[in-house]
């Protein structure tokens, strides 16, 4: 389905597609409404909502922390001037961050 959509979108790329985001938003709303109804009418999920919320909190926290750690690794490599220059990595902070006066 995704591949079909990608192909259709590419073929229609010169057409007007302003309505697309609206259609996507409307379908997301409908699906979340349906998810809500499904959750609300399911006693087992409603009874476990606090546990599902806790699971969500733990996953969200760990996912966020680990991506921050990954960013810190990148940051320290940039800061330390990439001593492992073997791969030609000479990224510097200024390449990631456009300084205001540099524009």
């Amino acid at each position: 389905m995704m591949a079909l959509g990608l192909a259709a979108g590419y073929l229609l790329r010169y057409r007007r597609t302003e309505w697309l985001p609206k259609a996507v938003t409307a379908m997301v709303w409908l699906l979340l409404l349906l998810l809500g109804v499904e959750v609300g009418s399911n006693a087992m999920i409603m009874g476990n909502l606090h546990r599902l919320g806790l699971d969500a909190l733990i996953i969200a926290a760990l996912a966020t922390i680990f991506s921050i750690v990954a960013s810190a690794v990148l940051w320290h490599r940039l800061k330390s001037g990439s001593p492992d220059a073997g791969n030609g990595n000479t990224t510097s902070e200024s390449e990631l961050c456009e300084k205001e006066d540099g524009r």
Binding site: L11, M27, V28, L35, G40, I59, A60, T64, A70, E100
Partner: protein, 198 residues
């Protein structure tokens, strides 16, 4: 911001309607499956027709892509760790995490392939990630590094969390933040559906 409130409101209205028995989904209903197919098709269509964004990616410094790749890798690693303490399988946790704070799309994708309970976890987890980012961005930028708020924001760094990132990390990080948001945005449907098939 208004969009996020409407999305949460839709879900809450659905929960209330379902709990009070005002609305009911027949046991063997395929409505949401067909809506989801259409949604995936349109998401694919908007990516495919968006040649402007694709072209602007080519002009960007390819090293900018290191950050979104690390964000995604960190997210998946962190979610896998969550499986150690939670009663969900590692792939379930990774599918939830790989929503990258794009809660609307990831929760409906996961609901369809993994059921409503994991769909709820995905919705809440990814809303929480956006809230964490909005609340913690100034602290992360000051005490960790200016890239940290962008990594935390996942797929939202091109839209909802961009203003706070711009203020916390500095306006110079806006182009990186937008590129990061786009890459993560595009990755979510692929990552979530891939992890759901494992």
């Amino acid at each position: 911001m208004r969009g996020s409130i409407v999305i949460v409101a839709m879900f809450v209205v659905g929960v209330i309607a379902g709990a009070m028995g005002l609305a009911e989904i027949p046991e063997q209903s395929d409505v949401s499956f067909y809506v989801l197919c259409a949604l995936i098709f349109f998401v694919g269509m908007s990516i495919g027709s968006d040649t402007g964004t694709l072209r602007s990616f080519k002009r960007l410094n390819p090293r900018l892509f290191a950050l979104p790749v690390l964000t995604i890798a960190g997210t998946i690693a962190g979610s896998a760790m969550a499986a150690l303490i939670l009663p969900h399988s590692a792939t379930d946790c990774m599918a939830v995490g790989s929503g990258l704070a794009y809660y609307s799309l990831s929760s409906v994708l996961i609901t369809e392939s993994r059921g409503a309970d994991l769909g709820v976890v995905a919705l809440l987890a990814n809303i929480l990630r956006e809230i964490f980012t909005l609340l913690l961005a100034p602290l992360l930028a000051r005490y960790v590094n200016p890239l940290a708020p962008i990594a935390a924001g996942g797929a939202t760094t091109a839209d909802t969390t961009l203003p706070i990132i711009s203020r916390a990390s500095g306006a110079g990080y806006v182009p990186l933040s937008i590129a990061h948001g786009f890459v993560c945005d595009f990755s979510v449907p692929f990552l979530v559906s891939f992890l759901c098939t494992l």
